[in-house]
């Protein structure tokens, strides 16, 4: 019998980090201690617990991390509730990688990069941000704007403060939706903050977050003079197979699982507005 993508491999959870009240980051390796498979930034994997469910998650660790894979997962359904309750040492079914990638070796190369994330939308961007940090010489200046509901809802807060903010040639701009005790940073929604920061439309932008945040951020970038062809985003849809056969994750004639999840915003304009 030929290899079958629907039959998962086994991995094991070796570390669980509590990021926010409803987001945990899970570290996964194969049973042999190696990474389950090779991926490129922006790709996803299907995780499942037999009898509970299977779902697609973005791989939040960078491919440059050769030891393990990480998944930042928000608790919001049957499977994710279960994942949030499990302990280190739990075996987990994993298959992938699925989808295309951010064009880190083409369009992004030599460019200034502007990453804009909202809430759990940081999960897919962390992979590409850390990839670019690890291959720093290939990219120009890097700006990161990240916002969340509150200070406690910022995913990967320690890594952002300890590593990203410490990088000399990376500017990190954090914001939270409402005033909060112990927060002396910016307060306000991401799209407004992006406009306030008045970024020059010379960089390539990557936006990920709730649909409403993507919509307003994109409008803000266009006001700043960005062209849609300079803005990338990564989409989310319900998926079952991950390889464009089960038929549900399409936007027009494109399947998010295999033609996406990364789309350039001008490409999205050619597709029906159904996402």
């Amino acid at each position: 019998m030929i290899e079958e993508t629907l039959i998962p491999k086994l991995g094991v959870v070796t570390d669980i980090r509590i990021d926010t009240p409803d987001v945990k980051t899970f570290r996964v390796v194969g049973l042999d201690g190696e990474k389950p498979f090779i991926h490129v930034p922006g790709q996803c994997a299907m995780l499942s617990i037999p009898g509970v469910g299977e779902a697609m998650f973005s791989i939040t660790s960078s491919p440059t991390n050769e030891e393990f894979m990480e998944f930042s997962i928000k608790k919001c359904g049957c499977l994710t509730e279960w994942l949030h309750k499990m302990d280190v040492g739990q075996e987990i079914c994993i298959r992938g990688p699925y989808g295309n990638a951010f064009p880190v070796e083409s369009d992004f190369k030599g460019r200034d990069l502007l990453f804009i994330a909202g809430g759990i939308g940081l999960a897919p961007l962390r992979s590409v941000i850390n990839y670019c940090r690890d291959k720093r010489e290939n990219y120009g200046h890097i700006d990161i704007v990240y916002g969340s509901r509150s200070k406690d809802d910022l995913v990967d807060y320690r890594e952002i403060i300890d590593e990203w903010c410490a990088d000399k040639d990376i500017n990190v701009y954090l914001t939270i939706d409402r005033e909060q005790e112990g927060w002396d940073g910016h307060v306000g929604f991401v799209p407004n903050y992006v406009k306030e920061l008045d970024f020059k439309p010379t960089s390539t932008a990557v936006v990920c977050g709730p649909p409403i945040m993507i919509k307003f951020t994109l409008a803000g970038l266009i006001e700043l003079g960005f062209d849609k062809s300079q803005v990338f985003t990564t989409m989310e849809m319900r998926m079952k197979c991950g390889v464009g056969k089960c038929g549900r994750c399409n936007i027009g004639n494109k399947y998010v699982c295999k033609d996406g999840p990364v789309f350039r915003c001008d490409q999205l304009d050619e597709l029906p507005n159904e996402y």
């Binding site: 359904g77 079952k240 390889v243």
Partner: protein, 339 residues
């Protein structure tokens, strides 16, 4: 061409069934026909086509994908795939044979679906040319010739005889093993083809045209006609279940009490759960679900497959829809808006 008298057809079936399972359309006792495993006493139906399509043979309504055993934190993945037994399907009409090509384009492209491939490799399709097309038939709209169905072999019932010719090596190997007489006198076949062509040209849907909607994807998507077309759709999903080209599936786990079975089953874009995510669904209204089904058949699929439509004109959805909505009405309305 091989030829045998219709009075010997059961002996012909018996010969095939000696070596492998044989399925033929047989009357279901409710005025329709369904594929039934041949055994002594099972008679070939005269119905124009079966109520359910022939896709079940290669893409069954449910099938097991993989098994698991769970023990505390440990999981065992059990690849329980087995080589499928050889089987023969007799009597598949041109529309349904064409639907296999459409399923192939989904399941046999990389990464190949091993479950589908397994069944496809072990199945031999003997098609049967149409001689009495029905008023719901419109395969001609999609360039399908009901008188010359594809398959591994093709059969004609003309006069008091069954004529049959091989089209592939698989078909040839099967037919040559059956010891049937060959004939050069195929006049009856050609006479029947001519007669059927006349009937096809007189069908009520004979003039239905498939327009190229692919260059105007957004016009078709945003057309105001969807509101009226979908207004009475119940979302029952009947059209997707009887459709020979509907191939969407769901994957679920079932706890048997001594292990977990992960299976897939047909799913339907007409159902609200189909695209439901934690934060909601991009296709909330029945209009959006309805539109997805027809946009897929008439626009998205052709865009991705060199203009081939995802419909074969079998007419099953025309017969089964409880509110008499169907792809023909959609094609007519859409043709007007994308002119």
């Amino acid at each position: 061409m091989y030829k045998l008298n219709l009075s010997e057809i059961n002996a012909f079936f018996a010969k095939i069934a000696q070596n492998e399972k044989l399925y033929i359309p047989a009357d279901n006792g409710k005025g329709g026909a369904r594929y039934t495993e041949w055994a002594e006493g099972v008679e070939l139906s005269n119905a124009c086509n079966t109520e359910r399509s022939a896709k079940d043979f290669f893409f069954p309504q449910t099938e097991n994908l993989v098994d698991f055993k769970v023990n505390g934190k440990k999981i065992e993945v059990i690849d329980s795939r087995e080589e499928c037994e050889d089987f023969v399907v007799f009597g598949v009409r041109a529309c349904d044979v064409k639907s296999f090509e459409i399923l192939d384009s989904v399941y046999l492209t990389d990464p190949i679906d091993s479950y589908y491939k397994n069944r496809r490799e072990h199945g031999t399709v003997i098609s049967l040319a149409c001689s009495a097309p029905e008023e719901t038939c419109f395969c001609r709209t999609f360039g399908i010739d009901a008188t010359k169905p594809a398959g591994d072999a093709r059969a004609y019932i003309a006069g008091d005889s069954l004529y049959i010719e091989a089209l592939t090596e698989k078909g040839s190997a099967l037919l040559s093993s059956l010891g049937i007489a060959e004939t050069d006198d195929t006049a009856a076949v050609y006479a029947q083809i001519a007669e059927t062509e006349k009937k096809l040209a007189e069908l009520p849907l004979a003039a239905l045209e498939a327009k190229d909607f692919t260059k105007k994807q957004l016009d078709a998507f945003n057309a105001p006609v969807w509101a009226g077309l979908s207004q009475t759709c119940l979302g029952c999903g009947s059209c997707t279940f009887v459709c020979p080209t509907c191939q969407c599936y769901d994957i679920k786990d079932f706890d048997t009490g001594h292990g977990i079975k992960r299976f897939r089953c047909w799913d339907s874009c007409m159902y609200s759960d189909f695209t439901m995510m934690a934060h909601g669904t991009p296709r909330n209204t029945q209009l959006e679900k309805f539109r997805q089904r027809f946009m897929h058949k008439l626009v998205y699929y052709p865009m991705n497959n060199d203009g081939v439509y995802g419909c074969v004109g079998c007419g099953r959805c025309l017969k089964k829809c409880p509110i008499s909505m169907n792809i023909v009405k959609v094609m007519k309305s859409l043709g007007e808006v994308t002119e």
